[in-house]
Every structure is written in C-alpha cells, then in structure tokens.
C-alpha cells in the first residue's frame, strides 16, 4: 500500500528539498576540521628540535656507473613523526567522539583516522626502504618518472595532506579542501626542493659541513599553512553556524 505523493506530508520536491536541507545542517554541525589542522601544525613545529639535534644515519651505495649515491635520514626525527602522527590521530578521534557526545550527533570520521594512520605507517616504511636502498630510489626518481611523485608524496606532509583531503570529502567542506590543496602545494614544493639535495651524490660533503638549519624552511612553511588554515576553517565554520538575520 502506498500513499499519494501529494499527501499532507508534502509534495516530492518539498520532501527532497527538506531532506537535503537537513543533511546540510547535519554536515555543518559535524564539521570540526580546525582541530586536525591545529594538531598537525603543532606536530610540525614540534619536529624542529628533533630534526636539529637528532642523530642522522647515512646509507651509501655505488651505482653501476661507479657513482656513489647516498641518502640520509634523521633517526630521532623519523621516530618522532611516527609517534606524533599516530598520537595526533588518537587525539583527533577522541575530540570528534567527545564533540559527538556533546552535540548529540555522530560523525563518520573513522575512515579518515584509519587512512591517516595507514598513510603514516606507509610513509615511515618508504623512508626506511629508500634510505636502505639509495640506488633503487635514485633509479626510479629520475625527473618525470612516477617514482619522483611517490617520493614527493611519501613524506609526513604528504601523508597529512592526503588524509586531510579525505576528511574534506567526508565533511563536504570546500574551505578545508582549498586549505589542504594550498598546504600540499606549499609542502610538496619545499619538501621536493629539500629532498633533491638529499639525492645528490655530494650529500656527504654537505654532511661534512652540514647546513644545520636547512630543514627549517620546510617545517616553518608547512606549519604556518596548517596554522593559518586552522584559523580560516574555524572562522568559516563559525560564520556558517551563526543564525541568519
């Protein structure tokens, strides 16, 4: 048995419009992306002392042409990023759960947390593999090869950015999406510039006379974009929450 579409409960167009309006309201009430951005800004700035004072391991191997390829990574920095990013996702999950209980509305943030944690593990695995196999990395990282793109993305900044894109889609938050794209462009550009030096065979010379603050522009630029993004997203959410009129 079915009712007529033009019943007292409304015509089909009004019903669909009301349903979409409710869905938009729920999405608006669920949005809390300013917090992940803020947490990752803190994590990024927190990496500075680990990069500056932590020990660095260098793996070198000879190419078939006889040239020696070296790759260095900060041991303490690597562990810092692993622990800090996983802790960050735990904090974000706890925050969303608490907010969900307060507001009486659940969220669908679990896929974001799962993908974020998985990308963190993959990034660390890539860092360890590429450090242990500098010649393989050099072979696949020729300009224009897919390996170059993988090497750019497989950084903590890349992992954070890709997971944030997923969160932007889950929350249908175009402000967050725009902030994330800006973050990825800035982070990938600066990260790539920094990492090219690490691919160079003259790295050992650099290590003999290391630029001890060479990592700083990368972390400052990434952290600043995240911090500014957190502010922009929070303001955009507050503006949407304010009742019209």
């Amino acid at each position: 048995m079915t009712s007529t579409p033009a019943s007292a409960s409304g015509d089909p167009q009004n019903l669909l419009a009301a349903t979409r309006s409710l869905t938009r309201r729920v999405r608006r009430d669920q949005r809390s992306a300013w917090l992940p951005l803020l947490v990752f800004a803190v994590v990024t700035f927190g990496a500075i002392p680990f990069d500056r004072y932590g020990p660095h391991h260098t793996h070198c191997a000879a190419e078939s042409g006889g040239r020696e390829i070296c790759r260095a990574y900060g041991v303490l920095s690597l562990w810092y990023w692993t622990v800090a990013l996983l802790l960050a996702y735990a904090v974000i999950g706890w925050f969303y759960l608490r907010r969900s209980n307060e507001r009486g509305i659940g969220t669908r943030v679990q896929p974001y947390l799962a993908v974020g944690a998985a990308l963190t593990v993959l990034t660390i695995a890539w860092a360890l593999w590429s450090s242990a196999n500098p010649t393989s990395l050099h072979a696949i990282s020729n300009p224009g090869s897919p390996g170059t793109l993988v090497d750019r993305i497989a950084s903590p900044e890349g992992a954070i950015g890709l997971a944030l894109l997923l969160l932007a889609w889950i929350e249908r938050d175009w402000v967050l999406a725009a902030v994330t794209v800006v973050y990825l462009v800035v982070a990938m550009t600066v990260v790539h510039h920094t990492r090219l030096a690490a691919h160079s065979a003259s790295l050992l010379t650099h290590l003999a006379h290391p630029d001890i603050w060479g990592f700083l522009p990368r972390l400052l630029a990434s952290g600043a974009v995240l911090l500014a993004g957190s502010l922009v997203v929070a303001l955009a959410h507050a503006r949407r929450q304010r009742p019209a009129g």
Partner: protein, 107 residues
C-alpha cells in the same frame, strides 16, 4: 511496462518527519533524541511516536543509556533503514522527473 514511481513510495518512510529522521541518522551514523527534536522542530511526544513507527518497521534501533547522570537516547539506522531511505529518495527523484516531463504540455 515500467512500474510507476508512486508504487516505490513506502507509507512508513514517505512522511516529512520520518524521512527527516532517516536522513539525519544516515548522515550522522547515530543521533541523539534531543538533536532530532531540535532539528525537526518537534515536541518530545511527537518525535517519540514517529520513532516508534520506525523502530517497529525495523528501520532504526533505539538505545537508551546515561551520560553521567544525564539520560541519553541514541538512534541508529539499520541496514533496512538505509535501503528504505535510498529507495524513497530514488522514487521521489523519479516522480519529480516524470512530473517535470509532463508539466510543459499542461496549460
């Protein structure tokens, strides 16, 4: 001959408030009673009646508990509820499409 979209409408779901409950629960994974009451602008008694209808049809589950000393009632969509909502929205869209195709011919 294809079935008319009106036949796809379900009496339980094809109602403004109940469709609203399902839409919110679908988007939120789970939703608290007071959020639904405020979002749909209903009295507690009215909302309870609609929830009872949906629960009897096995479209939602209702879980009562406490957050400290504060009583909380959480509503969650079942798989049947998700399907019912999907079917209803598809039927409504189909109906609108048919109505829009016919309307230019009518004076």
């Amino acid at each position: 001959m294809s079935e008319h979209p009106v036949n796809g409408l379900d009496d339980v779901v094809h109602q403004r408030v109940r469709l609203g409950i399902l839409a919110i629960a679908q988007q939120a994974r789970r939703v608290e009673f007071t959020y639904l009451r405020d979002a749909l602008d209903l009295t507690a008694g009215n909302l309870s009646q609609h929830l009872t209808v949906l629960e009897k049809a096995k479209l939602v589950t209702i879980e009562k508990g406490y957050d400290g000393k504060r009583p909380r009632t959480w509503i969650e969509l079942t798989n049947a509820g998700k399907k019912a909502l999907r079917d209803e929205v598809a039927s409504l869209k189909s109906l609108i499409h048919q109505l829009e195709r016919r309307s230019p011919r009518q004076p």
